[in-house]
């Protein structure tokens, strides 16, 4: 056992962090939210070049994957920098088509891996979301409905999310591409990959919120001292760190379980999802509270991070659904 990232994985994270740190993501996010996807598509192209979208695409389709651990590494950085777009969905499409294989895989996967095409994914389910993410930015919105996989023909009006960078719309009328039990199995596995990717994003988001807040309370003074010297502030930030530090191994553990096609992977993913997303939500609340009115002001870039936490929490498995899933599978070692 060596439950540590290796040097290559660490270097991959550093590379993405450097690249995204100089990409001006706040401006990209604001454009994306306004429906101008140009800067976002350019950023995606850079990420594709770095290999991000190839991680879930098998080698036979010009990808590098499947590499769930590297996917978790990459998505942590995407979350840290608040990158917009159907990210978890793109990873899930890569997984889904890669598992299905055949014409649809050949037709789409090389384009997705190279970043030429942006794809989103919608899975119809009772009580599930009626909305696909970023249909207006995507070249293709794949729709899974039971045993049928299709492409949406169009989409309804964009419904703004609490995170304005998430553009929600109902997929309308789909052209079925494949039908059969293989779709069901591949879609279930792909949904787990989407949940893992979302958990990793949440983890990175939480890290960024914590780091910015620590920086802020160190320099902000009130009553003649740094706000960060108050014990109540220190303890709240300590709790934020604890939650993130203990969510992280769950994320990597879930990635390894998916990589191994472990039958327990579903509960590992659910545990990671709920922990990382709750940690990110708590970090978001802490960041807001400790920045005070500054954090509540839209024009400060912090708001772009703060508002991402709750939507990630309900995407690809609400906390209630994840907790149910953990218990459904638990019991035996």
């Amino acid at each position: 056992m060596r439950f540590l990232l290796d040097d290559g994985q660490r270097e991959f994270a550093r590379t993405l962090n450097r690249m995204l740190g100089s990409a001006g993501t706040p401006g990209v996010v604001r454009s994306w939210a306004a429906g101008d996807h140009g800067p976002g598509r350019a950023l995606w192209a850079g990420l594709a070049e770095a290999g991000v979208f190839a991680l879930s695409v098998p080698e036979e389709y010009e990808g590098l994957g499947p590499l769930p651990v590297e996917l978790a590494v990459a998505f942590t950085e995407l979350g840290r920098h608040a990158v917009p777009g159907p990210l978890a969905e793109a990873a899930a499409v890569g997984t889904l088509l890669g598992r299905l294989g055949g014409d649809v895989a050949h037709a789409w996967l090389p384009q997705l891996a190279s970043g030429k095409a942006v794809a989103s994914l919608y899975v119809r389910s009772p009580g599930g979301s009626p909305y696909a993410l970023d249909s207006d930015a995507a070249d293709a919105v794949f729709v899974v409905d039971g045993a049928a996989l299709g492409l949406a023909r169009s989409h309804g009006p964009v419904q703004p999310s609490a995170d304005p960078a998430r553009r929600l719309a109902r997929p309308l009328g789909e052209a079925v591409l494949v039908r059969g039990p293989a779709v069901v199995a591949a879609a279930a596995y792909a949904a787990d990959v989407a949940a893992l990717a979302t958990a990793a994003q949440a983890l990175g988001l939480g890290r960024a919120l914590l780091e910015r807040t620590v920086g802020y309370v160190r320099q902000r003074t009130q009553f003649g001292v740094a706000v960060g010297s108050f014990q109540a502030v220190k303890h709240r930030l300590a709790d934020t760190l604890i939650a993130l530090e203990f969510a992280q191994p769950l994320v990597y553990g879930a990635a390894l379980a998916l990589a191994a096609d472990d039958p327990a992977a579903g509960r590992e993913v659910a545990a990671a999802k709920v922990s990382a997303c709750e940690a990110a939500c708590a970090a978001s609340r802490t960041a807001l509270q400790l920045h005070g009115a500054v954090g509540y002001t839209e024009e400060y870039d912090l708001s772009l991070w703060i508002r991402k936490a709750r939507p990630l929490r309900s995407a690809w498995g609400t906390p209630a659904a994840c907790r149910a899933r953990v218990l459904a599978a638990h019991g035996q070692r």
Binding site: P160, A162, I306, R307, A321
Partner: protein, 389 residues
Amino acid sequence: MDLDFSAAEEAFRTEARDWLAARVPSVPLPSLETAEGFAAHREWEGTLFADRWSVVSWPEQFGGRGSSLLEWLIFEEEYYWAGAPGRVSQNGISLLAPTLFEHGTEEQCARVLPSMASGEVIWAQAWSEPEAGSDLASLRSAAVRTEGGWRVSGQKTWSSRAAFADRAFGLFRSDPDAGRPHLGLTYLMFPLDADGVTVRPLGRLDGKPAFAELFLDDVFVPDEDVIGEPGQGWPVAMSTSRNERGLTLRSPGRFTAAAGRLTELWRSGAEPGAAALRDRVADAVIRARAYQLFTYAHASRIAAGGSIGAESSLNKVFWSELDISLHETALDLLGPWGELSDEAGEAPAHGSWAEGHTFSLAGPIYAGTNEIQRDIIAERLLGLPKGRR
């Protein structure tokens, strides 16, 4: 000890309920943090005022009904149960008006209050400055004595409603040599369209211009717009701040009504996890009831000649945390629909849960952060040693 309403109070409740049933718009007005919504809400204030429902506890001469505190609570319960619009006049009514009643001249009351009650003049608060948030005593914006008044310069920020409001009130440093930082401040009122005033709207978390920065460059404020004695702004403002933290800002009806709607939402049971959310729904109901009864006890104490001091810090922490947890529970119950912003056409309940959630997030920050409130509770109510602050 009793919780009974008198026949007159019950009649008052019925009158309010009937009036509201007839007048409250069936579709909510647009958000009052937008230009369109602000205008609609101003008009609604006029509707309230026309039938003397805008400021029931004020004396009749200013547009009120001289209602008791308890009647005011009754009115607020009916108001929120009816789903009536948010109060765009709130800053003026709950912050400035009590200060004027306590420290204003007769002339000021006569000049300011009726137009505030009618919605003709909407007031914004101008407390915070970039370097003075929680630490309000460190204000820097200056008022310099001049012929017949003051010349005011400096910067205010997070001024609620200032993007669309007409006038503002706040504290300015009139005597920089006064020694301790909360001496030498003066409480002033000024028009937001005066020469030298620049208003720069600021978006709140959901982007709506719910507040603004104010840049004041040599703005003339006549003596008649000073409240209380010059240099005495701190004690004058503190009476306002007690109001903000105490009874008047968050009436219990707001939470009992919201808890009732939350229960209905839970009963409708869309989300499969709803069974596990039951305890959170029950807690919202229980806490709203606790807040209502706590307020009745306060109202009884005041009616019996008592007063409320640091206890208002208990209130502030309680309602602000209740408000967030109630709205978070609602968003969780909404499942995938909980993500929609209040501006989404398909947002449940016309976006009221989303809007309420955004609004609730500011609760632990403004009117004295909850951290400061807890310091106050520990030091003044429990007698623990004062820390650095």
